[in-house]
Amino acid sequence: MNVIEASGLGKRYGSTWALRECSLAIPAGHVTALVGPNGAGKTTLLNLAAGLATPSAGGITVLGGRAPGSPVALDGIAFVAQDAPLYKNLSGADLLHLTRNLSRRFDQAYAESRLGELGIPLKRKAGRLSGGQQAQLALTLALARRPRLLVLDEPVAMLDPVARHDFMALMLTAALDDGVSVLLSSHVLTELERVADYLVLLSRGQVQMAGEVDDLLACHRVLTGPAAEADRYTERPVVHVRRAEAQAHLLVRAAADDPVPPGWEAHPVGLEELALAYLREPGAAALPGPTLPGPTLSEVAK
């Protein structure tokens, strides 16, 4: 099952396309990082998936072909919007009550024990909690709904390093223990590098790279060699060229056992280096995941 599928998806605000010709499929069972610079369309994509926005072009489905915002999608997706917008004048207990009333499933005992462990007082109004506590409260409310997909928009942007670590730990525990698929966005890849095993790179409203992190790393290499010969390398597609004095570093799309030309050295690539290289080359795209030629989506879904 794919938790999110989009084809030709576009969203226009006035005359500006926040998202354009966006096609991707994110399989279930992953912690997916949605990464891109500010204004790349991350929030737009998440709002479309949550059913808060409707596409201007193309289509998007969630949880294996459901319409975003449909009853099944609402029951199965817990969405934590940017800056954890909770009702600031409601206490933790009230927020639990409200969420329990408006959700099909709600694990009150889990939520209460989790908040107890975190030391978040139930009687305090959400607006008087610290930023980290508010984020943890929002995450706890989302997880207590027992979703199949947890969508988090810039969840840790406002948090200090300790709160950030705690938040990620809770999120990962839930993903591993309960089998919740997670989709979280950030404009800083390093925040997600350690937790994500699936990456979607958005740039200027389009998907530039999407796939399992291991696959993406496996099909890219960095070749280091003399700068003068950099332009003559044509054996594999070059994504990005970085020159440093006499040497050139070529990020190429090549497998580990591909032959290396004489005079060149091959290195594996890091995730951040890979993402940055693609972001600097808007024309390049790497989509080894289910949207690339190969098995069709329905086969992948099985």
């Binding site: 599928e5 989009a6 084809s7 030709g8 998806l9 969203k11 096609s23 991707l24 499929a25 709002n47 949550a50 059913g51 808060l52 926005a53 409707t54 193309g58 289509g59 998007i60 489905t61 294996g64 072909g65 459901r66 319409a67 915002g69 449909s70 009853p71 099944v72 609402l74 029951d75 997706i77 817990a78 969405f79 919007a81 940017q82 800056d83 917008p85 909770l86 009702y87 600031k88 409601l90 009230d94 009550h97 409200l98 969420t99 009333n101 408006l102 959700s103 099909r104 709904r145 795209a285 989509l287 949207t291 030629p293 069709t296 989506l297 329905s298």
Partner: protein, 349 residues
Amino acid sequence: MTALRVPARPEQDASPRPLPWRRMAWVTWRQHRIALAGVAALLGGPALYLWLTGLQVHRDWTAAVACHPASSGACGALVGYYIHDWPPAQIISVVLQAAPALIGAFVGAPVLAREMETGTFRYAWTLGFGRWRWTLAKLVSLAVVVAAAAGAFSVLLSWYYQPFLAGNPGFGGDPVPLDATVFDLRGVAFAAWTLAAFAIGALAGMLIRRVVPAIAATLAVYAGLAVAAGVFLREHYMTPLLIRNLNPPGFAWILSQWWTKGGKPVGQSALAQFLQQEAPQLAGDGKGGGIPQSPTVNQYLAQHGYAQWTSYQPGSRFWPFQWIEGGWLLALSVLLIAATVWLVRRRAA
């Protein structure tokens, strides 16, 4: 990349049963209880005053009516006492004219505007209840509560005004039932105006998406609508009656008065000119370009072939007018709330 192999078409299989409506009751109460307490204070204070003074008004009125013989000096004194000590609650009625607007602005407008302004709609609308049902449940339950509160209040107000409108026009100085100052406080109109103000506020909040501007817009739109209804609309609910007299039967709402001669309307200046020529002792000083309002003048003019006309709405049309006004306000409110729900449903974040 261009091959669209992703079947991005929603499945048409069965949806789960929607969550029961009653789940919204606690949510609505918890989120709007302060606003509702404000409504209780806004209407409860005047209600207490009206109830306490109303008991005395009714006692004095009963005494004045029971007094016999009515023409005696003692009875006259009672009536005079009654009139002077219990003037119709004019001040309170002015305050109450603003009550629906305040309810619309401070209860109706924030319902959606606050969610939009603080971004909490992203939370509320992605929970399992569903956003259009969430909106409908909130708006309908709050609308019913504020309209019911206003309705209960206007019952009390009608009771308070009963002595003033009980068919003793001789008491004088009392408001006419159709008069703008009291018409929309009694009967079903007060509840209907409160409902309409709430619906205006809800829609304004959804369109403007910010609390303070939505409150201002609600007050402005409500005031415009109320003035338009009172000044232009209400007199056309039913065809006015015509009477060849300047004094229509009691409790009439006089719309206009004019003179004719031989079937043609005669202006005030023409009348004044006629009096100057024929009966200067009756013409007065001619200031204001009109004729003096006195029975002698009217009688004189009638003897010389002039006819006096009054178009008016009789006081007996109070209830038909109430139902007409209540009806179109109810229809308007339903329309506005439906439009708000529709906007929520199709809104792009």
